[in-house]
């Protein structure tokens, strides 16, 4: 009787979890629509501004970057036109609605992920489906927490869109039923290693997003167009991206070390060039390259931004293609 009861409870929890995730996706979709609308408005305002007389514009194209000797002699470039400095923010209604919906969706998302963990009686990141739930929840979580520090609402469309796509793929293509952990995964390192890996993914993801916007801004600035309204200058975006990616890099380094320790326990060697190990290493090296690029003359700015985007692409490749199509010891997708 007790076993039957347990099974029923578990089935209920699994269903509740899925319902919660589907609801989160719906609300994310709403948030995405509002953020996109807001973004479109910002873009059109930028166009209007660039159509205005030239003396009304402040072009911040000439930056201290790469100027070497004279960099410090420059006064800080004047604040870009239109960017709302934190504190005196005038947020559009659309962006505000987007944020509200994102918070609501995130609560449903986290709720669904936690329910999944309760149903399974363990951490909710033991297969690809669960890992996607957790990692995307972390990306949104980092995005939301960042708002207390920086106004990053212009990333709302990117972040909610990205998470929506991955939740969609997870629920339709990665879904697996709750099954017990195989012996190799029964380790406290599952809790540490995988969670820190998803934290790193979250920071890398937002950093790369900032790099994308940075590239767009840099192009506009280089062409003498006005910066996109309510988006910081390319230089500032680069600085923000760097600070996020450096945190991601620390998490990623920890993931590598923790993974090696776990690999020694489970497989008898700390490093064996398993496909997943190789790609985690590749990602680490690319972002190490990014950090070095930021310290190399001629590589700051757009070039390093491209490296960060390549790095995050490698993270996604590692998570999707390597998990699904490459042979290796990390075959825990459950598919």
């Amino acid at each position: 009787m007790i076993e039957v009861h347990e099974a029923v409870t578990q089935a209920t929890l699994v269903t509740d979890s899925l319902v919660s995730i589907y609801s989160a996706m719906f609300v994310y979709a709403l948030a995405f629509i509002f953020f996109t609308y807001d973004l479109a408005k910002r873009m059109s305002q930028a166009k209007q501004l660039s159509a205005a007389p030239a003396d009304a514009l402040v072009v911040s194209g000439k930056s201290a970057r790469g100027a070497g000797k004279t960099a410090v002699l420059d006064r800080p470039s004047p604040p870009p036109v239109g960017f709302d400095e934190p504190g005196k923010t005038r947020r559009s209604v659309a962006a505000r609605l987007g944020m509200i919906f994102t918070v609501m969706a995130w609560l449903l998302h986290v709720g669904g992920t936690v329910l999944r963990g309760v149903a399974a009686g363990r951490v909710p990141w033991a297969n690809m489906f669960e890992f996607t739930l957790t990692a995307t929840a972390i990306i949104i979580g980092v995005f939301l927490v960042m708002q207390f520090w920086q106004d990053l609402q212009f990333l709302g469309a990117y972040v909610t869109g990205f998470v929506l796509v991955f939740l969609g793929v997870a629920t339709t293509n990665f879904y697996v039923d709750v099954v017990p952990l195989p012996p190799a995964l029964q380790s406290y390192w599952l809790v540490i290693h995988v969670f820190v890996a998803s934290l790193g993914t979250g920071f890398y993801g937002l950093g790369a997003a900032l790099s994308v916007v940075q590239l767009v801004q840099a192009r506009r600035e280089a062409r003498g167009l006005v910066a996109i309204r309510a988006v910081p200058t390319a230089e500032r975006l680069e600085s923000l991206a760097y600070r996020l990616i450096v945190v991601g890099f620390v998490f990623w380094t920890f993931t590598l070390i923790a993974g090696s320790i776990w690999a020694e326990h489970a497989w008898g060697r700390y490093w064996g060039w398993d496909t997943k190990e190789v790609w985690t290493f590749i990602v680490w090296v690319i972002f190490a390259g990014y950090i070095h690029a930021r310290a190399t003359r001629g590589w700051r700015g757009s070039r390093s931004a491209i490296l960060s985007i390549i790095g995050f692409s490698a993270v996604l490749f590692n998570f999707t293609i390597v998990n699904l199509y490459f042979h290796g010891l990390h075959s825990y997708s459950g598919l």
């Binding site: 470039s77 012996p183 326990h265 489970a266």
Partner: protein, 564 residues
């Protein structure tokens, strides 16, 4: 909150006076963002002699650009090894790949792609990278050691062009008040963790965050440490494999291993003697959750471990918890089923009896194995068999398909099927032969497929006759076996220690800001005001904030107000 104006994040040091900056700048590659810019390229270069070329080459190799290029090249060069199976991690995959792509794999083989990570080209890249790294580390370390004992540089003549510049309102103060204000500045900066030097009683020059460079250097030196440990330590590693059926033992001597791969400098004589007896192996299968019915949820190997001069102890080995014994680590890497086979000659005399480990082919432990009986019968016989712990039973589960298959890893309906061959098994040539394979090319099949006689089918406890009156074969019972990996790796602890240093160095090198701060009393038109400014050395997005905080505290101490 955080405000980082563009100029504050750039750690350009040229604002200090010439001479000063050279003295205290980290010795960085010439194309480092923080390094002073090289003189104009238009200047005619002197002709280089041999040493000059060497120096030129060395400077190129240790430049940031080269390091960056080599880093990205390492990332790029690591890719092929993930696309093609590797000899070290997946030898069977390599064999399969070569069989599937005979032409293409010759090219790959020539390029060493099946051993990417020990190939010449991959090694060349990372060795160059590390030489470049060492060439960077050494001068910087020497310079940093000097910098640790160097006082902060002279206060710049004008602070108002430096990042974070702030000033107080002017007041009519005497010399003593100014001196008091400067010494208050010195105390404030000192208590905030700065190294402070006062110039002419008029200004305090302060620097902090030397740990940033220390961490940076520790990070890079520890990386070199990992590479050296792995490169040189590999020769001291010992790995071996042993299959042990329940009830049998393993002794840690060379002759008792099934296979070994010793490092170049490892002598098997240094193996510490110990003995492990596998008393039991218990797999646990999921029976409640119907989505995972029959999935493994636990493996536990129970062993009795005895070492000379010590009491015998009972230990367990699990997948994530190896047994550390006698200087080795014993890992539970595989397991399976071993039918215990007894073969008798026609007179009833036992000529062969032992558990025969069968290799699992799927999650339900459909297993394949080989039995070789070279002696005691009229002819040598070899048998290729399949073992099904729970053979699919049409009467119970309905549809089973044509080929026999196991539907559960537990022993619910165990069946052993055998095909029997006779002929020379090739065991007398002195060459080592794979115990898990039977080359049937020169053998004659006498029972099973194509022989005209049915193969043999056995259940535990059953005995059947061998064909041609050769004798009988009995399946006594079925036991579990474990595949143990026994490793001796003295480098592990070193690598772990270096890895921890890498991590600590990374955090300190990235997050501790290195900055200079100046507080200066400026006299103008009979009045005095204090000026504040800072300078980032390396990434320092919070510089302005830090200067503002110091300015606020200092002006409050002196009862001055800040000029807006």
């Amino acid at each position: 909150m955080a405000s980082d104006k563009p100029s504050s994040s750039s750690g350009n040091t040229d604002a200090t006076q010439p001479g000063e900056s050279l003295q205290t700048d980290p010795r960085r590659p010439s194309d480092h963002f923080d390094a002073p810019e090289a003189p104009d390229a238009d200047i005619t270069q002197p002709r280089l002699n041999f040493v000059g070329y060497l120096r030129f080459f060395w400077r190129q190799l240790t430049s940031m650009r080269t390091a960056l290029f080599l880093l990205l090249l390492v990332a790029f060069a690591a890719v092929p090894g993930s696309l093609v199976p590797q000899q070290t991690s997946d030898p069977n995959g390599v064999i399969q790949y070569k069989a599937d792509n005979p032409g293409w794999s010759k090219v790959l083989d020539f390029l060493g792609v099946f051993n990417t990570y020990s190939s010449v080209w991959f090694s060349a890249i990372y060795i160059l990278l590390f030489i470049s790294l060492i060439g960077c580390i050494i001068p910087r370390t020497m310079h940093h050691v000097r910098a640790l004992r160097t006082q902060p540089p002279k206060t710049p003549a004008r602070l108002d062009r430096l990042p974070g510049f702030l000033r107080t309102t002017a007041v009519e103060w005497g010399d003593d008040d100014v001196a008091g204000g400067v010494s208050a500045a010195r105390d404030l900066l000192r208590s905030s963790g700065y190294r402070v030097r006062v110039f002419d009683g008029q200004s305090a020059s302060a620097e902090r965050g030397y740990l940033r460079e220390t961490g940076n250097l520790v990070f890079h030196i520890a990386l070199v440490g990992i590479l050296l440990t792995v490169g040189l330590g590999g020769g001291f590693i010992w790995t071996g494999q042993k299959v042990v059926p329940v009830g049998q033992s393993f002794a840690n001597t060379l002759s008792d291993y099934d296979s070994v791969s010793p490092g170049r400098w490892f002598s098997p004589d240094s193996l510490q003697p110990y003995k492990l007896t596998l008393t039991n192996f218990v797999p646990v299968y999921e029976r409640k959750n119907l989505n995972a019915y029959g999935d493994v949820i636990d493996y536990t190997a129970y062993v009795r471990a005895s070492q000379p001069g010590q009491k015998t102890v009972n230990e367990t080995i699990k997948v994530n918890s190896p047994l550390r014994i006698g200087g080795t680590d014993v890992y539970l890497l595989s397991n399976g089923l071993a039918p215990v086979i007894t073969v008798r000659n026609p007179a009833g005399k036992v000529v062969y009896t032992q558990p025969v480990p069968f290799l699992p082919q799927d999650a339900n432990l459909t297993s394949e194995g080989v039995i070789k009986v070279p002696d005691g019968l009229a002819k040598q016989i070899g048998m290729v068999g399949f073992f099904y712990p729970t053979e699919c039973d049409t009467s119970k589960t309905g549809n089973c398909g044509i080929a026999p298959v196991s539907v559960d890893p537990a022993l619910f309906n165990p069946v052993l099927t055998l095909q029997v061959y006779t002929g020379d098994l090739g065991l007398n040539t002195g060459q080592p032969v794979n115990a898990y394979a039977l080359n049937t090319d020169k053998l004659k099949i006498i029972a099973g497929r194509g022989s005209g006689k049915p193969g043999l089918t056995l259940r535990p406890g059953q005995t059947v006759k061998l064909p041609d009156g050769l004798g009988t074969i009995e399946l006594n019972k079925v036991v579990r076996y474990v595949g143990l990996d026994i490793h001796h790796d003295p480098t592990q602890l070193w690598v772990l220690s270096f890895a921890i240093l890498v991590f600590l160095g990374l955090i300190t090198g990235l997050f501790i800001p290195r900055r200079r701060v100046w507080i200066k009393a400026v006299r103008r038109a009979g009045k005095v005001h204090f000026e504040y400014a800072g300078l980032a050395r390396g990434e320092d997005p919070r510089l302005d904030e830090a200067v503002a905080e110091i300015a606020r505290k200092h002006s409050q101490l002196l009862g001055l107000s800040m000029k807006p």
